[in-house]
């Protein structure tokens, strides 16, 4: 005693025995290849603790955060509070799912592999696309990889991205493209959506692809048909970044002829987790099958003719193609894709429609009620799914509003000036199925008391 946490099972006498079998006298004898001076004596980190102490310590750190069960939040902007059915946690937390790795040995990995195949299938259905991969790091890297695919495929140098795409996604995009000798061009926006005329003025036969998001960062639905038309007329690829939760109701990328669809599946059965882990998806039509990044599971048969699943088309991947791979991605976000697979199995065909409607109705009610208040008006006038922006009269600074809301147990929306310095005193709010009318009425009351 004390007995600290220790996951190395062999005892001193085991180790003695093992060293003897190895034929050395001490552990040091196994380290002779390390130059003497490099061996370190002591690592300067605190001493360990027991499980009980660990729980106390982490609990008290957790309590220092103002969590969304205690506060009623209206933040969205890429990380969404949705209800996670209990079965998702119960099933995805089975050790056989989360303590295995990439299913390299399909004979003993059918659970993971069938799960991926089903995930791919469900996402294809939701997106109305042909092929979806097993997952990407997040929606942003998926978007960036889509641009990379387009650049390589089209052998063109211009990438057009709308300013209504999530600013942090655009940031990632720009990072990914920075050394590829291409030009990243932003398309202006008009009343919260991509300006068709600006796109028209910038697109040309040097354009590899046009990237948009819908519902976009402001929650507004983009006029995808027009944008796709213009894009295809210029022989560029159209990449749609979509909110996966909207797809039970909102027109999916496949229905407006997008070439690549990407996005994040955090909303579908995954927790916010202070921003990660989330997971992205990458969808294409058949034509791009061998150019897409990431893992794919496929159905085949075993020697006895039974249907079985395996990773396939691996010649696209880094462990085979190395420098010429379609992407460097190796470990992806499998467990989150599995959670989404369980989530979509649970919500099912009807559930994804119902939940979509709930998001629409609740957010529209909130928008309407807020904008009835003096000093609040809609920032934009466009159809939206579950996010919308309001403009607050200058009498009440937005930080002040947020601070007061917090004191009433409410976490307000995002201050848009954080990302769009020229949008002043406006707030982006998200209202999902998790907010009751009572919650919303309380928000409206609280706001009205403050402004």
């Amino acid at each position: 005693m004390p007995v600290k946490i220790n996951y190395t099972p062999n005892t001193e006498s085991d180790i003695k025995l093992m060293l003897k079998e190895i034929g050395v006298n001490s552990i040091e004898d196994l380290l002779v290849d390390i130059p003497e001076g490099l061996l370190c004596k002591q690592i300067n980190i605190p001493t360990g603790m027991s499980e009980m102490e660990l729980k106390h310590s982490l609990k008290s750190l957790s309590d220092k955060n103002a969590n969304l069960n205690k506060y009623t939040s209206y933040l969205g902007a890429g990380a969404y509070e949705h209800f996670v059915p209990s079965v998702v946690d119960h099933l995805s937390s089975r050790g056989e799912f989360y303590t295995c790795y990439t299913p390299y040995q399909p004979e003993v990995s059918q659970g993971t592999l069938q799960g991926i195949y089903e995930f791919q299938s469900m996402m294809c259905e939701l997106l109305a696309m042909d092929i979806v991969n097993a997952s990407m790091y997040d929606g942003a890297s998926a978007l960036a990889e889509a641009a990379v695919l387009a650049i390589r495929h089209k052998r063109k140098k211009n990438v057009l991205v709308s300013k209504t795409v999530h600013p942090e996604y655009r940031g990632v995009l720009s990072t990914y493209l920075q050394e590829l000798d291409v030009k990243l061009i932003e398309i202006e926006m008009e009343d919260g959506i991509t300006s068709v005329s600006d796109l028209e003025s910038r697109i040309d036969n040097n354009t590899a692809c046009v990237l948009i998001q819908t519902p976009n960062f402001f929650g507004c639905l983009e006029e995808t048909e027009e944008l796709v038309g213009l894009t295809h007329k210029n022989e560029a690829l159209f990449v749609a970044c979509v909110n996966s939760m909207s797809l039970g109701i909102i027109k999916p990328p496949g229905e407006y002829d997008a070439d690549i669809a990407v996005g994040d599946i955090q909303a579908l059965g995954n927790y916010i987790n202070y921003g990660g882990p989330h997971a992205g998806f990458f969808a294409v039509n058949k034509e791009f099958m061998r150019k897409m990044p990431g893992r794919l599971a496929g159905a085949t048969t075993d020697t006895k003719g039974r249907r079985a699943f395996t990773l396939t088309l691996q010649t696209r991947e880094q462990h085979i193609r190395r420098a010429k791979a379609t992407s460097n991605i190796c470990t992806n976000q499998q467990l989150l894709a599995l959670r989404t697979c369980i989530y979509l199995s649970t919500l099912g065909k009807a559930g994804m429609i119902d939940i979509g409607n709930l998001n629409i109705h609740k957010s529209h009610y909130a928008m309407d009620r807020l904008c009835e208040l003096d000093g609040i008006e809609p920032l934009l006038n466009k159809p939206f799914f579950n996010e919308f922006a309001i403009k607050i009269s200058d009498n009440c600074k937005i930080e002040e509003l947020s601070r007061h809301l917090f004191e009433s147990g409410i976490i307000g929306g995002l201050d848009l000036s954080h990302f769009y310095p020229d949008i002043n005193n406006a707030m982006l709010l998200c209202v999902t199925e998790t907010r009751s009318k009572e919650d919303i009425d309380e928000l409206v009351l609280a706001v009205s008391n403050i402004i």
Binding site: K4, Y7, T8, P9, I22, I27, L30, I34, N44, I45, P46, G48, S60, D63, N65, L75, R94, E96, Y98, P103, Q105, E107, G111, Q114, Y117, S121, I131, D138, G139, S141, T175, Y176, E179, D181, E255, N273, Y274, G275, M289, D302, A308, T310, T312, L313, Q318, R321, R322, K324, N328, T331, Q334, L336, S345, K349, I353, D354, I360, H361, P383, E433
Partner: protein, 485 residues
């Protein structure tokens, strides 16, 4: 027993979900306020099943997997160590999972403190000067590291186009470098399986941005000329990048920072015991020396006046690499691991990884060829090429191991070993388990001679037998589709 697809269990109208009433006023007929052109035309054919179907389906599926929780899993280069259950619990506290990245920093001091302390701990372990916790995986860290090498050199006034990578490196290394537009120069390993110093000297020049080194390398060998390598690299003002995926036998033993490493990524889902999740999520924190800090992706965690926060102001930063701040849920698990094993436990991890690998190596060395090294660090690579005479492939050995209840080692990697069997027992396995594995493998090696058919047709006791991979690739069937009736 195999399991139908969940779609094949679907029946019209069946449901597994429940939702609260729509308590806000809705116009007549529950119709959406959105114009028709924004609405979906064809309903997505998602499964229509009951909750009991969902539970049975995924429970049964899970049972078809081998996993660390059920089987010894010596998958080389992947460090399939035990994933402590307590870390699953503490990382699920509501103050962590239900926290929004855009909440005010004052509302998030608990998690920010964890991130800060975690970074400090990694610094202590690796001897680096700062870490970015943002990379989502090892390969993501590599990619960011390569961008930093570019940005650093550019800032120093030189645009360099080459990255040197040993032929034994993991595939992500060349892939990551290539995604940054670099040309890859491969350097052959010498007869000892190490970087060939003379070859390196020949190859290196002023167009080299960085050397990506794996140490211990993928043969499980410590690059004993590390200091020389660093010197050669630094002599041309290039950077020495370490693929730090193989740190399980290094913790508390030696620090990359002391070896002249300028940058490295760690795999939290390997060395730091976070679950592999069937292929993620992982996390690949990137550590750098002082001169490279300005180029790190923003934001960076800082402490000021006893409060913690994000620092965005990095004018030389390579930019954003991820929305928000990284795979926080993974980091909390790794943090919990490190604070609980603590300074005493850290060294034990490496010692155990070292002794386990060498013990297993020794137990097998009379039975199977181990082409490189006298000893090893966390893993070792055997070759089955001598069995070719009997018509036995490495794959056959791998499949037969499954019959004995063991996951197979990594096979056919690293590429420099013909018919490679890459074995990493990890630090969390018992001597008894290693003996059982060794006994099984030795038995299989005998079977290879006495009963080769049993290997060629293996596995025999698994839910499915060997798969037709050719068919899978030739006629890709990547999704279920509703049959039209």
């Amino acid at each position: 027993m195999l399991e139908k697809l969940i779609f094949e269990k679907s029946s019209p109208g069946r449901t597994a979900y429940s939702l609260p009433e729509c308590d806000v006023p809705v116009e007549a007929n529950d119709t959406t306020p959105l114009p028709e052109r924004f609405l979906r035309k064809n309903t997505a054919e998602l499964p229509e099943v009951a909750e009991i179907d969902v539970v049975r389906h995924f429970t049964r599926l899970s049972q078809l997997n081998f996993s660390v929780d059920t089987n010894f899993y010596p998958l080389g280069s992947c460090t399939m160590k035990y994933n402590p259950k307590i870390n699953e619990d503490v990382s699920s506290y509501e103050g962590f999972v239900n926290l929004h990245p855009y909440q005010n920093q004052e509302q998030c001091q608990g998690i920010l403190q964890i991130l800060y302390e975690f970074e400090r701990t990694l610094i202590g372990i690796c001897g680096m000067d700062a870490f970015s916790l943002q990379p989502a995986a090892g390969a993501h860290g590599e990619f960011i590291g390569m961008l930093i090498s570019r940005a650093y050199n550019v800032k120093e006034g030189r645009r360099r186009n080459k990255i040197i990578i040993p032929d034994s490196a993991h595939g992500t290394n060349p892939a990551s470098a290539s995604m940054c537009g670099f040309d890859i120069v491969e350097i052959k390993s010498n007869s000892q399986g190490l970087v060939d110093i003379e070859a390196l000297k020949r190859i290196i020049d002023n167009d080299v941005s960085a050397l990506m080194l794996t140490n211990p390398n993928t043969l499980g060998l410590f690059e004993k000329d590390i200091l020389k390598i660093a010197e050669i690299v630094h002599d041309v003002d290039a950077l020495l990048y370490l693929d730090g995926a193989n740190m399980d036998a290094m913790l508390g033993i030696a620090r990359p920072g002391d070896m002249g490493i300028d940058m490295l990524h760690l795999n939290l889902h390997k060395t730091f015991s976070t679950p592999h999740g069937g292929g993620g999520p992982g996390a690949g924190p990137l550590g750098v020396v002082k001169k490279l800090i300005p180029f790190l992706p923003a934001p960076i965690i800082i402490k000021k006046d006893n409060s913690y926060g994000w620092q965005y102001d990095f004018p030389d930063s390579i930019g954003r690499v991820k929305p928000f701040y990284g795979n926080i849920g993974v980091i909390i698990r790794a943090y919990a691991y490190l604070v609980s094993v603590g300074s005493e436990g850290l060294g034990k991890i490496s010692e155990s990884a070292l002794v386990n690998a060498n013990y297993l190596r020794k137990r097998l060395s009379d039975y199977i060829e181990i082409p490189y090294g006298e000893r090893c660090m966390h893993e070792f690579v055997a070759s089955t090429r001598k069995l070719k005479a009997n018509g036995i492939t490495t794959l056959d050995i791998a499949k037969r191991l499954l019959d004995y209840g063991f996951h197979s080692p990594t096979i056919y990697f690293p590429l420099i070993v013909e018919d490679a069997l890459m074995i990493e027992p990890t630090d969390t396995e018992t001597r008894e388990t290693l003996d059982e594995f060794a006994d099984a493998l030795i038995k299989i090696l005998k079977e290879a001679k006495t009963n080769p058919e049993i290997l060629k047709k293996a596995p025999h006791n698994t839910p499915v037998s060997r798969l037709d991979e050719v068919q899978a690739a030739r006629k890709p069937d990547l999704r279920w589709r509703k049959e039209l009736s």
